[in-house]
Subunit: 412 residues, 2 copies
């Protein structure tokens, strides 16, 4: 029979970071979780814990890692973790995290994205201990009668009272009927997975609670739900999301992650530190206090944050390199992971800049050159149209503005 750590030890780890809108829900959920942990210790049965992830892109970003790290804690305490990929829910899109309807996705696209998702999730989860499942397996099999039975436990008013829908309703923006189905699906997932605990962001509370409603209606014991704060995106305000474009992908190059973190608005330091780093609450509180008193420069704090985050996903060594590169880049030298462009014949500079993706168009290249914003091997380029780059068997460094670099390499 497996041995689980003492109840209080598990509670301290699992409840860390939990956030609810009201104290009553917190009190109830805390009591229910404690009871389940006690029962699990007595029976030797691990708890079944899940979190769903809709594969709307093939890449996980830092926002996904918040629940993933909590799942990892459950794993380390000996419980069973189900990484549920929303291959069916992803085809509708969750309206929770945004104020407008999302485009529907095909099952094939969802399955394609699911592959990259799973691989990346294993950077946080224990590969040997993670159950991976796909909700199209049961949601795709549900018939109209089944959908009706799920829907009959909810009123339209309950949906309209949710923040995201009530805001859109007040603004007179269309709410498509199928957007109401998302919560039903998540609730049905909980039934089919027969879960003890479901975790998610605070904006998921309604969907998680729908699982409790439906489980009760089926005579099942309702799952415990635990919600966690939302990680903001690089804009510093909206939820991090690929579709908003404010994301930091965990598979992005170390230099890219480093730069994005350093460029975050200062006020996001605490949110990122608490949700993404391995730092203790005391360390974080200390740094925030130092920033408030002026002892610690926000820029220095964010460099430390950037190094920590790169280190989590790419290791200590690459984090060091990214920090050094950032300094070089700031001084005008190309970072070690700047993109390369292989040149096999003479090329007009405008064409080269456009073809390599350094600029969006030849027009933009011409304008930047005229403004003196383009450097070739450290020298400002003044005559854009006539300058030719000749293959020379070596490497030229092309720089646009302060941060955009290209290594031009001859293939001869």
């Amino acid at each position: 029979m497996p041995e689980f750590p003492p109840v209080d030890e598990q509670m301290a780890i699992l409840m860390r970071g939990v956030e609810f809108g009201d104290d009553q829900t917190r009190t109830n959920m805390e009591a229910e979780l404690r009871l389940r942990i006690e029962e699990s210790r007595e029976s030797g049965r691990p708890m079944r814990v899940y979190c769903g992830f809709d594969p709307t892109s093939s890449d996980l970003h830092l926002g996904h890692t918040v629940p993933l790290r909590k799942l990892r804690q459950f794993q380390e305490l000996g419980h069973t973790v189900i990484f549920l990929i929303g291959t069916f829910t992803g085809t509708i899109g969750d309206p929770s995290d945004k104020e407008s309807a999302r485009t529907q996705q095909s099952l094939e696209e969802a399955m394609d994205n699911a592959r990259g998702f799973t691989q990346q999730a294993h950077r946080v989860l224990d590969r040997e201990k993670t159950v991976i499942d796909y909700n199209h397996r049961w949601l795709g099999e549900l018939d109209f009668g089944g959908v009706i039975r799920l829907a009959s436990h909810f009123t339209v008013q309950q949906f309209l009272a949710r923040d995201n829908f009530s805001n859109r309703h007040a603004k007179g923006e269309p709410i498509w009927l199928h957007e109401f189905f998302y919560a039903l699906m998540q609730g049905y997932d909980a039934i089919m997975l027969d879960t003890d605990v479901q975790i998610g962001g605070t904006d998921q509370l309604f969907n998680l609670m729908a699982g409790r409603t439906l489980m009760s209606a089926r005579g099942m014991r309702p799952q415990v739900v635990l919600t966690f704060p939302i990680l903001v995106g690089t804009d510093g305000h909206m939820r991090m999301s690929k579709s908003t474009g404010n994301h930091i992908g965990i598979d992005e190059a170390p230099g890219v992650i480093f730069t994005k973190v350093v460029n975050l608005p200062d006020h996001t330091f605490q949110n990122f530190s608490e949700l993404v780093t391995r730092w203790s609450q005391e360390e974080i509180d200390g740094m925030v206090a130092q920033m408030d008193s002026g002892e610690l420069e926000p820029q220095a704090a964010k460099r430390a944050l950037a190094k920590e985050i790169v280190s989590i996903f790419h290791g200590e060594k690459r984090a060091e390199q990214a920090a050094v590169d950032a300094v070089r880049m700031h001084e005008g030298a190309a970072p070690s992971d700047a993109p390369q462009f292989r040149l096999s014949e003479e090329m007009n500079l405008l064409e080269l800049m456009s073809a390599s993706g350094l600029v969006r168009s030849k027009g933009e290249a011409r304008r930047l050159i005229q403004q003196g914003g383009v450097r070739l091997n450290g020298e400002a380029v003044s005559d854009g149209v006539l300058t030719l780059v000749e293959p020379n068997g070596g490497e030229s460094i092309l720089q646009v503005g302060k941060k955009r670099f290209l290594r031009v390499v001859s293939t001869e």
Copy 2:
């Protein structure tokens, strides 16, 4: 190739009694119907016309006969009529006709009711020419993905703008999510039946229009919709419905139908005359004018109406008998179709009255006797508790108030 009557002749018959909330819809539908009729004449292809009926009870009532008579007209003009039984929609219930959610029904109950329904529909429709279909055939097969695709063409706001839902929403009464599914189902029926025309009550306009929306979304030509006024029930205000209890069943005894019609509120005379009788508009207008001027007693008008309605469903002869019986009943004699109670042993009068269903309880029987409202063979009964009715091989007439009669027959 079948020959269809001239377009104008068909239009005059089919548009009679059509009612829309706004003139624009009427103009559009009239133009579309004319075009379909022209095409039908040119190609020799009959139009496909349908109306759905939810088998919420095993009996049709006068309200059902309004669209049935319109379907009959389509049949007589040579078109194909589909009598669609809502064996699936009936399991949810249409929220259109009422201001609260309906209890869900099982498919078995729906199929049971469908049998009686079909038989009774043939009193109005041409049995040889009517296609009977059941919508559980396709709605029961639809999967969650299919439901989502249907729902994605409608907004929550469109539903909330409907009278019945907006009233309930304003009153703070719960609207269950699955109630919104009804319109999707009707729309899907139209797709699967590939209809030219759907007919229904004016309160069905939203559901019928949902069919147009979904057909257009599928690249199909949207069906023509024709709506007709709603027949009120015996209360004179609410839609006639078995669940409200204000219905007149077409399978009820002639005397019962006759009495229910004579007891209708006076103001319903025109609604019933226009929607249920075979009378011409001129005849009806004439009678209404005579009632207004005092030349025609409302009671006499309603007796004529009652005779006409009984005659439609039970024939001329039984209508005559019902009229005679009504007069006798008014004078205190038992009508020929008064219920019988077979008595095989001595019975206390209070028990007899209660067991036969003449009153709801022995308490009520006792109270009525004390008030002098009970007669046995024409004599007022004064001593309720002690009086015994003895089997005598003959028949005793028991009368409560003016209209309730029971023939007590000895079985010896």
